[in-house]
Assembly symmetry: C2
Homo-oligomer: 212 residues x 2
DNA sequence: TGGCGACTGGGTCATTTGACCCACTTCCTG
DNA sequence: CAGGAAGTGGGTCAAATGACCCAGTCGCCA
């Protein structure tokens, strides 16, 4: 392990930390375990990071970027908004099923960040990031299909993120693929109801309760 | 601290543990911290519990019961299903806002349980509990209003739980009450759509796409 | 190409932590 | 009311952990 630039070690350590957290949870992410996972001596850790918390803060920042990279390149498929949303959620679901521990680690890191005053802001930014990601996806989907959103797109985005978190936890707990499918169907159908064609916008606003 | 029956100490320690987890997260729940919170010597801890994990397992079981006690006595209010669901979710939301750290602790405990092979089953049971809780609430609400569920009530219950988890995380991160309100409205409206009056069941199934 | 600063890695150190021991006290039962 | 079981609490121990040191090595730039 001869003379690797500090910047590279930073990255290597952060990625090793993510693997360790995924494998054994935040509690298992000791400085030694992380350094060992990265295959470098403990001293390199403290040469590059001030402390364990310093590394954890960088880790949270890192995973946000990862999430973005994995979700964003989302080609719009399907001619129906419900289909488009469903496809997007399935893309995430596949990611979740391919590497459950990684997504679990993500959630745990959010909780971890919320605990310390410094990092709480980091968690907030993490979710603002998710919201804006969802918002831009929803906007482009609607635009693509010539639709407009009934409610502010930020509001819809937030709901979509909440649905995603909920289905993630649910699936992590019991790994029930059928239930996952149900939730995705529900989410796609329910969220799609918030979009209309501009011409007849707000016409049949609430047709279920219409009694005339 | 003179001669208290072991059973009482068990309860006291479990409750102290919950306070410690709520305050500082699972990582802060050391045997010493818990014993100190309960105001008893460390030895009492090991007299009553085999190990820290033993206590944690009991803690998870305990919080499930707590959740049930807090949510179940839910009088049905409102003449509209959407209203009833909304009221139920607001009851939970008020609980969340009254003691955010407690709900955060709950989520963290779920993640913690999922990490160990023994406790993973405990987490599963915890969620099955939530599901059946939601299912019975949904069933009695529908019965009360003379409605029937379009989809299996277990499926709807699961979706409701996922929505609850999602909105919990979302609110814990940014404490945005307006957003919480939005999500509850969405959830109530969307979930209520799954119920119909038995007579005209399935009639206006998908009126949004109806073009005639 | 020589030197200096960046980087390495084997160790150390004080704390914290889970586990547990054992002599002592208290309460209940027979 | 005597005796033993149940309960108490001060103390100990080994292991793990975060932090860090420093002598030595490496590579880049003047």
């Amino acid at each position: 392990m001869a003379h690797i630039p500090a910047a590279e070690r930073r990255d290597a350590l952060v990625q090793a930390a993510l693997r360790v957290v995924a494998e054994g949870g935040v509690g298992a992410a000791t400085t030694r375990a992380i350094a060992a996972e990265a295959g470098m001596p403990l001293a390199s850790f403290h040469y590059v990071f001030d402390s364990r918390d310093d590394l954890m803060a960088h880790l949270v920042t890192f995973v946000v970027g990862q999430e973005e990279a994995a979700i964003l390149p989302e080609p719009i498929v399907g001619s129906d908004l419900q289909e488009v949303i469903s496809a997007g959620l399935w893309r995430y679901a596949d990611l979740l099923r391919a590497d459950p521990l990684r997504e679990q680690a993500m959630l745990e890191l959010t909780h971890y960040a919320l605990r310390s005053a410094d990092m709480a802001d980091l968690a907030r930014r993490q979710y603002e990031h998710y919201f804006s990601l969802a918002a831009s996806a929803l906007t482009s989907a609607a635009t693509h299909l010539g639709l407009v959103w009934d409610r502010p797109v930020d509001e819809v985005a937030r709901i979509l993120v909440a649905l995603t978190d909920g289905m993630t936890i649910s699936w992590l707990v019991d790994r029930d693929d059928a239930a996952l499918s149900d939730i995705i169907s529900f989410a796609a159908e329910s969220v799609a109801r918030f979009a209309r064609t501009p011409e007849r916008a707000h016409r049949d606003e609430d047709d279920v309760t219409r009694t005339t």
